[in-house]
Symmetry: D2
Subunit: 386 residues, 4 copies
């Protein structure tokens, strides 16, 4: 079951780390630390092996993958010895990277994307291609009437407007090509009625949004802790300092707003009320791919006594994200193989702002993920929600 | 269903806060923040109401309860207005506090304890009395052959030896009097074969050990988070700075050892390996009942990249512990009413070092607690494990 | 030498804490913790005693001082017992508080202010009155041509324009009345050419700006440490979370900008370059007068090795500021008595953004302060800079 | 002025980093970040240039220097490219490393040390050799009557006793050979009456003890800050987590005690009282040469209001220490050239536990250092204390 993984933003930090990591795993040069799909409770026969993954992707820049990998090694994100050992394998992936189409109508560009995806699938004889968006975070787009309906959308794309933000155009091409779509970013992606309708029509599953790798991961275990102990959270304030490409993008107020919104959901939904305090993202170039998040939580205990928790998370964002990208590609491929369509709400474990209602508490998300995996492995081809 | 709560260490910080809090709840002067048994998933008809709880206890010191409460108010643990408003109610509880017996053989002292317990139960016409140990932490005791067997124990207690540490003597008296026993401390309590056999013979349930209120509570959500994400914890070091009576006791190396041991279990059992690093407890008088715990966790992600998490917990230990003491008294009373005997492993949620095998992950403990409560409320008088 | 202390913003947190504290010191109810002018190196005969200070002031609100003090006691800023013990003394000060004038031209309002100040001085037979601005931080004002010159200013004030921001109108009235002026805020105050010329003409000394009480205080010892060790600071990012009246004001972007600017100066001037990173101020109502500041400093050592320092400051802003307000009033009064005029650059020790060129390193500022005090105490009536 | 730098513990982390760094500076491969003697206020003609330093030393282990350097590069302490570029230069230094003598009487071993030192000086035609102790920290030694007097000492060394701890035997050989001696460790070194008398007799200067690189460096700016602001420090607790060779040594209780004692002095002497709280050093192998220190300071402000400061220092100990070793060698050489003898108290800036009475405040130490350097550069050959 050879499976394609098509990365939108294929030359970015997360994509590059995912590719180097998968190649290193295939070559037996590293272990699966950070890979959820290698834990006993999740792994199993339904998932494509690391060795079965074939990579390709789009990007707007042309920096060679190997050069990007070297830069990440210099920054301490990747071991330099892996990049050196994988020169040939990286050159092979380089052949499968395509420029993001420009010019023409959005319909023209969608056609190019579709052509790239189907060409990749055929060239490698792949059972399926999972498209994973790991491109830079976009601003929240303006509403457009054609977002409501597939037919209206098709017409509008042929016109002069920029009807869809890039992430949604990729999603459009993906589902049209029959490819499952995973959005690891807070961008719009498939979250438009016209596109989810289209995905249903093409019977593909999809998952998202926004990989949960740092501060929000901690919130998803700490907020339930306060809730289970009936402690009243009075304020929760967060500061995220990060450099890297993602940091630079998020320094833009519009992208920042999209991201901050997706970071805050977990609190209101887990606690049942929204404590005071905000989450900030600040760009500090010198921090590179290592992010420092600091959170202060003030809370009241018995008889109103005030207390505090403060944490500092110093994480390498790409190293946290990359194994989850591989996990999502494997799980989504297996779901597609099993005939699943629509939103994969069982993958909420991986996301800051998961599709579909449901819990934001990590432990509950974990339980659902394990059941989902078990179901896949016993060969359940029916929708387990049915 | 009037229920006695007999506190061993009744004039300590935790006991005093528990008593003031329960009286304040009964008088409608405060809300149930921090009380797990008031959460929708746990509360219900099987639990005695706060207004049904009647307090008594033993202590080795004679400081009046009201004076202890005032000292706690001055230290910011309790609102002074509550203590002022509850003068009369505290005086009533004061009548039910008894000195810890001294002199004579341990059998003599056990007889006094038994007499105090049964007198309390009869005087107030109580359905049952739950004995909760919140006395100062004891050193780990020397082994003694009479610990193995109830008959040998009975004989030995009549002799000149100090066969049992105080916590175990209280536990002995409790079960002999047919009272459920809860140990909120890391002391030995019922954890001797002779005593558990005796508890079974008297058909009482029991629970313990060591209330989980700070650093270990955090460990019980953070360690599972690392495990679920397949991140490798390399070191986990903790420093606990605390004053108060408990801090002074724990400054003694032997008591410290007992406590530290109970704090470390969660890591090994949740992660499946023991990371490097130690947990320290240091006495800093000036911090009073507010404890500051600082933990540093270093871990490896994908491809071995090193990362760090650090947290500072600034909690009021007595304010965190007291509502749990009430929760445990209510739940254990309900279990006793429902005919449960033996270790209440479903109460692991509350303890650093829970009796019975089972998970140390808070979310799993929560699930078990909710099922336990549900079972009690639907009137299950059978042992749900059966 | 009875000395008036006229507080602009007299019903605010800092002012109320200053007044309660001075009254408590006079009554022997508290010690001088936090008072720099009581340290051996600074104290001496030239300074008016606490008992010689007489308080008055302006405010735009009318909350009784005693009520404000009670609110601060409830928030843990002041001991409640002090407020209770000082009821009468506070009532006396209450008599000396005046509403901030409204309506009419700015010239009319300045006349009222002048009248209030001179009336206060005469009524109490004061040697002098030091005006200290502790009112809410203002936005940075628009430039106005009349700011350049005293004569133009006088004319413009009679017209319909709001020529001066409130802090500057107070400063104008103060110097016109022959009163030394201290600005504890980042507002404009005397920092306009027309006003400094006027101050010189009236031969009064003045000092400012913006009391240094938390994050910046730390920066003023930590930045020199990095400089003295030739360590290269790469980034310095700060987050300030605070509630209280000051927090609410600073949540306004314009006031925030004024404050942030005054917080950043110390780095560039001490290090000789500006590291990456920003300082943030966020309003979190629930934190009240307690501010939590968190700073992350990344730096390079020998051979470029990257390292980090992170600190959390949890301070009560009013308790930190109030003794400095008293210190500044005492020192400025003594300087005036000694015939000093113009900017008191020797008081840089107290300010985030000190008037006059000079060092931002706390230790150097301390040396200058001690020399200044010594000079005052030996009776130096000449300008020591002369 | 070619100057020898003889490192005791020459194959340790600090020594290796010092050597690699000096060679890299000489080769123009790195800049002088972290070198205090390159700051404008300290640098000057009296100091030997980096290019004039010639390295040698003793160690008890035989790991090749280049291998040690590679290990440090792998651990992120040194850039790997430097080690690669300096292969030849390191081989030259390797030739000058000697095994620590074993066997025989201490007099025999001292003779070998003396022979090694004088041989080194002559072989390279050095103006002088500064001996710097950077060997593993020793336990505090037992007192011995021969410590009191040079003659008694000489006799005793010939006998069978281990009269001197190793650091003191090196110091004995150094001064006997006419070499200035610097102790970068908390070990005894020259601090015995017999040895200081001998140093005076041989007219050599000496300096120590225990390089100030992390937590104590911070204390030496923060404690003065609290003192200058008249804030009352109630408790100061510290935890130091470190791996590396030094960490392993300090895990031994006796060495730990020596180190902790030298870390605490700054507080009592700067504040004028000793706050509550202890300093801990814990070994966590996985942290390697990177040390994490966490300190909690609780303090009272005006009217007794309680506040807190907490900091986390994440520093690379060897990268912090190495440039100071070079600074000390240069300054001590210049002092020797200028005819200085006895304790160089002006070098207190560099030490946790500086020789000679005097301030522990960094800013005051800095002022003294700058004066000292100025005096050296203007050619002052007299003792500036005279
Ligand atoms: N790293 C994490 O922990 C994490 C967690 C959650 C979400 N994310 C999201 O993952 C995404 C990638 O993060 P990153 O750190 O790799 O960022 P990055 O800036 O290093 O990479 C983004 C890549 O996207 C490319 N790109 C931008 N617009 C594109 C377009 N229209 N079409 C194709 N490619 C385009 C860029 O050229 C770049 O190569 C971001 O949206 C980020 O918010 C990352
Ligand atoms: N507060 C928490 O968060 C927390 C959490 C877990 C466990 N605990 C445990 O709860 C216990 C109580 O803590 P605390 O803060 O109230 O301590 P405390 O020192 O304030 O109170 C302990 C009381 O026990 C009494 N006592 C001692 N020996 C006794 C004996 N033999 N018989 C009867 N009474 C005796 C003491 O006189 C004192 O009044 C400790 O063992 C502590 O380790 C507390
Ligand atoms: N507390 C600190 O540590 C600290 C440090 C540096 C500077 N400051 C500055 O001190 C000032 C006071 O801080 P606070 O915490 O007391 O604030 P606060 O909001 O409690 O008090 C400010 C007072 O000023 C009054 N005010 C507003 N406009 C006025 C006007 N035009 N005329 C007269 N009164 C007016 C308000 O009514 C209020 O009573 C702020 O500007 C703050 O930035 C405080
Ligand atoms: N790194 C810092 O920031 C710092 C700060 C202050 C003091 N120090 C002190 O510097 C010393 C060196 O630290 P390190 O990190 O390099 O330790 P390390 O363990 O890496 O090196 C110590 C070296 O000393 C050698 N040694 C031990 N006994 C010896 C003896 N009798 N004769 C000769 N050599 C001997 C060891 O073999 C080892 O090579 C320690 O005493 C440490 O406490 C270091
Ligand atoms: Na912290
Ligand atoms: Na921290």
């Amino acid at each position: 079951m050879r499976t394609g993984v098509w990365l939108v933003g294929a030359r970015g930090s997360v994509a590059t780390t995912s590719i180097v990591g998968a190649l290193a795993l295939r070559a037996g040069l590293t272990g699966p630390t950070g890979c959820v799909t290698e834990l006993p409770a999740v792994r199993g026969a339904a998932l494509p092996a690391f060795a079965d993954l074939v990579f390709g992707g789009h990007d707007v820049v042309t920096t060679p993958l190997a050069k990007r990998a070297e830069a990440l090694a210099a920054a301490g994100v990747l071991p330099a010895r892996l990049v050196a050992a994988l020169t040939e394998e990286l050159a092979v992936v380089e052949q499968e990277l395509r420029p993001a189409p420009t010019g023409g109508s959005q319909a023209d560009r969608a056609a190019t994307l579709l052509h790239d995806l189907t060409g990749f699938r055929e060239r490698h004889g792949l059972s399926r291609v999972v498209v994973v968006n790991v491109a830079a975070t976009e601003p929240v787009p303006d509403p457009h009437p054609a977002h409501a309906d597939p037919a209206a959308l098709r017409t509008a794309l042929g016109g002069p407007d920029e009807v869809l933000p890039p992430s949604s155009l990729y999603a459009y091409a993906a589902v049209t090509a029959g490819c499952p779509y995973v959005d690891f970013t807070p961008s719009t992606g498939l979250r438009l009625p016209a596109l989810t309708a289209l995905a249903d029509a093409h019977r593909v599953p999809y998952a998202g949004h926004d990989g949960k790798t740092g501060e929000t991961l901690l919130k998803s275990v700490l907020a339930p802790m306060f809730a289970m102990r009936n402690l009243r959270v009075r304020s929760w304030s967060g500061t995220n300092l990060l450099g890297g490409g993602d940091g630079a993008t998020l320094a833009e107020p519009a992208a920042n707003a999209a991201k901050v919104r997706s970071k805050q959901r977990v609190l209101g939904e887990t606690l049942g009320y929204l404590p005071q305090g905000d989450t900030r993202i600040d760009y500090v170039e010198e921090l590179g791919d290592f992010k420092t998040a600091w959170d202060l939580v003030t809370f009241a205990g018995f008889l109103g006594t005030g207390m505090r928790l403060e944490f500092t998370w110093h994480g390498c964002d790409s190293a946290l994200a990359a194994p989850l990208v591989l996990d999502l590609a494997r799980l989504t491929a297996a779901a597609h193989a099993a005939g699943r369509t629509g939103p994969l709400t069982e993958l909420a474990f991986f996301f800051k702002d998961p599709l579909g209602a449901g819990t934001h508490a990590l432990a509950d998300q974990w339980t659902r993920l394990c059941e989902f995996a078990r179901h896949l492995h016993v060969g359940g081809s029916d929708d387990p929600r049915g």
